[in-house]
């Protein structure tokens, strides 16, 4: 076994295994490359769905939509999550990383698999969408690439678990693992279920594509595939919540209001979050209402409870830390005096707010069997998940990147003025995307159709004029989001490859007088519940939640009048 080489981060005081650092860099760079590719395809999809522009012909549209889903929903997100897992284990626990050669093999499998699947899509014979429902059949290497990617990511998860074991055995931490690492553990556990489900359904589908299996039952496929397709987005939720806690700790020295409560909230994720996959099958006739309602309502509400706890705990922790620093005037001085010009903070806070208001509330609405029927398989669904995965996860990952660049890549963030505005432009664009798609979906606009005017269709059908307006606004919002995404890519590439080296301690934002490692890499609660500002924000959230939920029941009563 080769000797582990460490450096000590001058800013955080954390001991960093250079093998882990190299792996974090590789996975993060790969993630950003796939974000750039997937984002470009996403822009072309939105511009095609803008009736006045209608950019791509039908075959290119479905190709671009498949590539967009693949590159951003799977590759960008999971590459970055593997980087987060290595950061939260090896670095936050001051440990060496387990089996770095296996970790590199995992990276190679993920990269190879991602490239093979992209090639299959670009060759034009695999425009089967991200979901790839049979009997639509893609090229063999489309499935093979996905399987290689899933196996690689699974190995990466076990490297994370191995690192936890090493850190415990070598006593690199005392007591329980830090909350951020616990959040990453939650993400890794959900990832094991997710990736195993993906392998279980994609291997027979691959054999079907090469003629060794005669038939894949479409409903069975949907059931097992969604255990991967939706749960992969639950890895994101756990990972980005862990990142919220990490950024709050690194910028404010914030500790969770209660370790017990926050860890219990993560436990609710571990037990119940994956069950939300069932909402994709709410209109399938072959499954009972008991199965549907239990999985999407009773059990999933426990996971929603977990999210609401984090929604209180993260801003509450920041408020407690700010008040401890003397920002005690009124209800919101702590928030006004927050470092809004620091993209790590602004990105994180926008992610927190938009995930709750856009993705969270709409997710509960869609998880309710009765009201789901109004927007099932409409554009409302991508509206919802752009609120969770893009506004929530992607923005949080972007925010974290602004800390990883100086701390792990040891480079200054390039174009600081551009970086200051980037989360706002991206966030504004994504909020628009999410809202306008949900609005169009409420008017019945189909989720994936190339042309909402139905040109050349045998029967006339017209959506209300408002739907056209919303699709145009959606296209404009996509341009804003794409510009924000482009700014992020330019900043990251310039910083990482051509940036000025960081050698000394840097000030992250709001130093609390204690080492950053003490807040982010240790166990302990804030020990106060004096958070009036957060309670007001939570009250606003609950009011919006209740109103929107019941407005949808009102809509349902109008759709289906009982006389």
């Amino acid at each position: 076994m080769s000797k582990t080489v460490y450096r000590t981060c001058p800013t955080t005081g954390l001991r960093i295994d250079l093998s882990a650092q190299a792996l974090i860099k590789a996975n993060a760079v790969a993630a950003v490359v796939f974000l750039a590719i997937g984002g470009l395809f996403g822009l072309s999809v939105a511009l095609t769905r803008w009736p006045a522009v209608h950019l791509l012909p039908a075959d290119w549209f479905y190709l671009a939509l498949t590539a967009h889903g693949l590159d951003v929903l799977l590759l960008w997100i999971i590459f970055f999550e593997i980087a987060v897992l290595y950061f939260a284990s090896a670095i936050l626990l001051n440990s060496r990383i387990a089996a770095p050669r296996w970790a590199w093999a995992a990276f190679a499998l993920m990269l190879g698999g991602g490239l093979v699947t992209n090639v299959a899509v670009l060759q034009g014979q695999s425009s089967v969408m991200f979901t790839s429902y049979p009997p639509l059949m893609a090229a063999q290497h489309f499935y093979l690439g996905l399987i290689l990617f899933a196996v690689g990511a699974l190995i990466g998860c076990f490297v994370f678990f191995g690192t936890l074991v090493i850190a415990r055995d070598e006593k690199t931490y005392q007591g329980s693992i830090p909350l951020v690492t616990f959040g990453a553990l939650t993400a890794a556990i959900i990832a094991v279920f997710t990736l195993a489900s993906g392998a279980i359904i994609l291997i027979p589908t691959w054999l079907w594509s090469i003629g060794l299996v005669s038939n894949i039952d479409p409903l069975m496929y949907k059931l097992v595939w969604w255990a991967m397709g939706h749960s992969s987005q639950q890895i994101n939720v756990s990972a980005h919540v862990a990142i919220w806690y990490a950024i709050a700790a690194m910028l404010f020295g914030a500790k969770p209001l209660s370790e017990k409560i926050s860890r219990t909230a993560f436990l609710l994720y571990i037990l119940f979050l994956q069950l939300a996959s069932a909402h994709h099958l709410l209109v399938e006739p072959g499954l009972s209402s008991e199965w549907k309602v239990f999985n999407t309502s009773y059990a999933m509400y426990l996971a929603v409870l977990g999210s609401m706890i984090h929604g209180l705990s993260v801003p509450g922790a920041m408020e407690a830390a700010q008040r401890a620093r003397g920002f005690n005037n009124g209800v919101f001085q702590w928030l006004r005096k927050a470092p809004w010009g620091n993209p790590a903070f602004s990105g994180m806070f926008l992610s927190l707010v938009m995930f709750g208001f856009l993705g969270g509330i709409s997710g509960v609405v869609m998880g309710t069997e009765q009201i789901n029927i109004m927007m099932h398989n409409t554009l409302y669904v991508p509206g919802h998940f752009h609120g969770t995965v893009v506004a929530g996860t992607t923005l949080a990952f972007m925010a974290m990147s602004y800390l990883l660049i100086p701390l792990v890549f040891q480079r200054e963030v390039a174009f600081p003025s551009l970086a200051k505005w980037q989360p706002y432009l991206f966030g504004l664009g994504v909020a628009g995307l999410s809202l306008f798609m949900m609005g169009a979906g409420t008017l019945g606009v189909a989720r994936r159709h190339w042309d909402i005017t139905f040109t050349s269709a045998p029967f006339d059908f017209n959506y209300p004029p408002t739907a056209y307006l919303l699709m145009g606004l959606n296209g404009m919002a996509a341009i804003a989001a794409a510009l924000g995404g482009l700014m992020f890519i330019v900043i990251v590439v310039k910083s990482v490859f051509f940036g000025k080296p960081v050698r000394d301690r840097i000030t992250l934002a709001a130093p609390s007088g204690q080492p950053i490692s003490a807040a982010v890499a240790s166990y302990g609660s804030a020990g106060t519940l004096r958070i009036p500002g957060t309670l007001v924000l939570v009250g606003v959230f609950f009011t919006a939640f209740v109103l929107y939920y019941f407005v949808n029941w009102k809509y349902l009563s109008e759709v289906w009048p009982m006389r």
């Binding site: 678990f161 936890l164 007591g175 329980s176 693992i177 616990f182 553990l185 939650t186 556990i189 959900i190 094991v192 279920f193 195993a196 489900s197 039952d217 409903l219 069975m220 059931l223 097992v224 255990a227 749960s231 017990k260 860890r263 219990t264 436990l267 571990i270 037990l271 119940f272 994956q274 069950l275 996959s277 069932a278 099958l281 072959g286 499954l287 009972s288 199965w291 239990f294 999985n295 059990a299």
Partner: protein
């Protein structure tokens, strides 16, 4: 491990049961895989296999 090493003049500190559960990462992994596998996948598959095949 259910106890933290105490300082020489202190009683051993009992770790609460729930904290021991949350510190057992492989138990959490087991639960996180088994619960959705049973409630979502196995229950769902049992319902699908009971659908009669069309004549």
């Amino acid at each position: 491990m259910s106890e933290i090493e105490p300082a020489p003049d202190q009683e051993p500190l009992r770790i609460p049961f729930m904290q021991r559960v949350l510190d057992n990462h492989f138990l959490l992994l087991f639960l996180g895989v088994v619960v959705p596998t049973v409630l979502y996948i196995i229950w769902g598959i049992l319902e699908l296999v009971q659908i009669p095949v069309a004549p």
